[in-house]
């Protein structure tokens, strides 16, 4: 494998749930062309891709989004770009954030809770939810962002108000 890193790949995502899994397998095969990965990393990449694309199909106005992969040594960045309105929380605190660096507890529905850390007015990082404990009573029925958070080494959301673009940036140490 004699490649000059970083390798950048840009792909249109599928728009139907039943096309997602074959797409993730195709993307993984492309990554494996450039980088040998252990099974655990391969499983995490598939989970992250499935959830990023499922999220677009569920929430994006036209279901479309683009995936950009930055394969580097020793990291992989999976970025999803999606036109539309910014992400909204079921809470009073919204983007743009007024207070930076203060950890916030937010939700996207009645059931799910996420801890996030604003990094600037239009950007925040999802924090690992495991510190809160785990029981069926408080178990959410919406797991997408939760799965991406725990499967990755870093998961950042960013909104570009000028381009009206949502960016989901996932980083994996590989």
């Amino acid at each position: 494998m004699n490649n000059s890193f970083p390798i950048i790949l840009e792909l249109e995502t599928p728009q139907h749930p039943d096309e997602i899994f074959s797409f993730t397998k195709m993307v993984l095969a492309k990554i494996l062309n450039y980088k040998i990965l252990n099974i655990a990393h391969q499983q995490k990449i598939k989970m992250i891709l499935v959830e990023l694309i499922t999220n677009s199909i569920k929430h994006s106005a036209d279901h479309s989004s683009q995936i950009k992969l930055v394969i580097d040594k020793p990291s992989l960045s999976i970025q999803k770009f999606e036109k539309g309105l910014q992400i909204e929380f079921s809470a009073s605190q919204q983007i743009p954030f007024e207070e930076i660096d203060k950890i916030l507890k937010i939700s996207f529905s009645e059931e799910n809770m996420h801890h996030i850390q604003p990094l600037d007015s239009y950007r925040f990082k999802f924090l690992n939810p495991h510190k809160e404990g785990f029981d069926i009573e408080h178990m959410p029925e919406h797991f997408g962002f939760y799965i991406i958070t725990i499967a990755s080494d870093s998961f950042i959301y960013q909104y570009d108000p000028e381009a009206k673009e949502n960016r989901y940036i996932v980083h994996l140490d590989i």
């Binding site: 139907h16 749930p17 039943d18 997602i20 899994f21 099974i39 655990a40 499983q43 995490k44 598939k46 989970m47 499935v50 959830e51 499922t54 199909i57 569920k58 495991h130 785990f134 029981d135 069926i136 178990m139 959410p140 029925e141 919406h142 797991f143 997408g144 939760y146 799965i147 725990i150 499967a151």
Partner: protein, 111 residues
Amino acid sequence: MNINKRKIKDVLLITIEESEANLSKSEQFKELMLQEINLGERQLIVSFAHVDYVDSSFLGALVATLKSLLPLNGKLVLIEMNADIENLFQLTRLDKIFTVKNTLETALTEF
């Protein structure tokens, strides 16, 4: 969504006859499961023998099923998951919430 139902004494075995347990099937699966619970089923086994992957929507449907079943003193056992699905349950710690078994035989000993 395609499922297969089989009664083994008091236990209802539901085999998911789909390779992709995802957003396009999760709502229907949840309704099917809640319907069985409403009809009186309390001991359920769900087989993933034919499933390649499970997404967050389908996990949500499983959580909704378990949440409905537990107050009724019911039990749900998940069986025959492939390595990717097992890994998803471990990573999300759902393996601590659900009873997960390898085979139908071992699952039946849970009831």
